[in-house]
Symmetry: C2
Subunit: 196 residues, 2 copies
């Protein structure tokens, strides 16, 4: 084996982990979310910009508002998942750079003074962090159901502000009955990796 | 503890893993890269689009061409890392969708007929896969040094084509002497996570 990570962890995070479409009633606690964050916050981002922000949708009222913006095929599972989180990009992440990159606070103005640059960089780096977050959900023994099938403008207006762009919505919980479809194919190594 | 993943795996993938700036001479083999891919290929993407493509820069000639496009501060480590990989987005990923999403081949034309839509979705989902790849490098007991400080147009022209956009360049290997700077701060949970 070329991997150092033990086989059980490989299975937990990648091989047996699946995108869940149904969930049990078991709650997902704030302590679990904090443990997930405290693990995955260390995942690297460019300039340590860490632009990901998370909104946990806990109240029934907020849940119904969110469901109304989801694509029809995502509504039932978004309504019934133990926890739903909105992942978003903070397009004003540069304001935190002097704290996050204390040896090079000039980065804030040298590289990120323009909003379109921040939106581009923030989007990529928040997506990296979204992937770390999905891995973290699995590390907590939970299943993640990430979704991009929703009205982005509607979710932004209802739950965020003009400085925060929705990235995805994730259902989180223990997988329920018939939680997943058969595993979809993946590209072969030679279709993805070339050498020069 | 709220996490199921064992502590050694947490350390390997997140807590003790660091972005490396120096490396030992120990080679990174194709077998290791294949093992990494065969693990992280299972990470989820929207519509299973898996748009990430990887170019391994193995020849001395290609390495020098790549170094010439790196920002000055990234040149020395890009020159000396055991392996350098260019991660890119395939903006024509939709051509593979009938194979990757066999129960819904219409997705190719229903959602991804327009190039700007593909560039947007492909960029986000390739970034998710780049994060899985970084985790995979660490799962192989190696350190990753992801970099976005390079001439994107130059790297695209030299190593890719107009259908593939560079996402990042990653140095890969065993960490060398003084491989990393002190750990940078992270945002506190309450600065990142809110509840509604």
């Amino acid at each position: 084996m070329s991997l150092v990570l033990d086989a059980a962890a490989q299975d937990l995070l990648f091989r047996e982990a699946r995108t869940a479409n149904t969930f049990t009633d078991e709650p997902v606690t704030d302590e679990q979310v904090q443990a997930i964050y405290d693990l995955v916050k260390y995942g690297p981002t460019a300039f340590n910009q860490t632009p990901l922000r998370v909104v946990l949708v806990r109240s029934e009222e907020a849940r119904e508002r969110l469901v109304s913006h989801m694509a029809e095929g995502n509504q039932a599972k978004t309504r019934t998942a133990p926890l739903v989180a909105i992942l978003a990009t903070d397009n004003e992440f540069h304001e935190e750079l002097p704290n996050l990159l204390p040896h090079f606070p000039q980065a804030k103005d040298m590289f990120f003074s323009e909003r379109p640059v921040r939106e581009q960089a923030g989007g990529v780096n928040a997506a990296l962090q979204a992937a770390y977050f999905i891995i973290g959900v699995r590390a907590a023994g939970l299943a993640a159901g990430p979704m991009t099938g929703f009205d982005f403008a509607g979710v932004q207006k209802e739950f965020l502000d003009e400085d925060h762009s929705p990235l995805m919505v994730i259902n989180i919980g223990k997988p329920g009955e018939d939680a997943w479809f058969p595993r979809l194919p993946r590209l072969a190594y030679d279709e993805v990796v070339t050498t020069v």
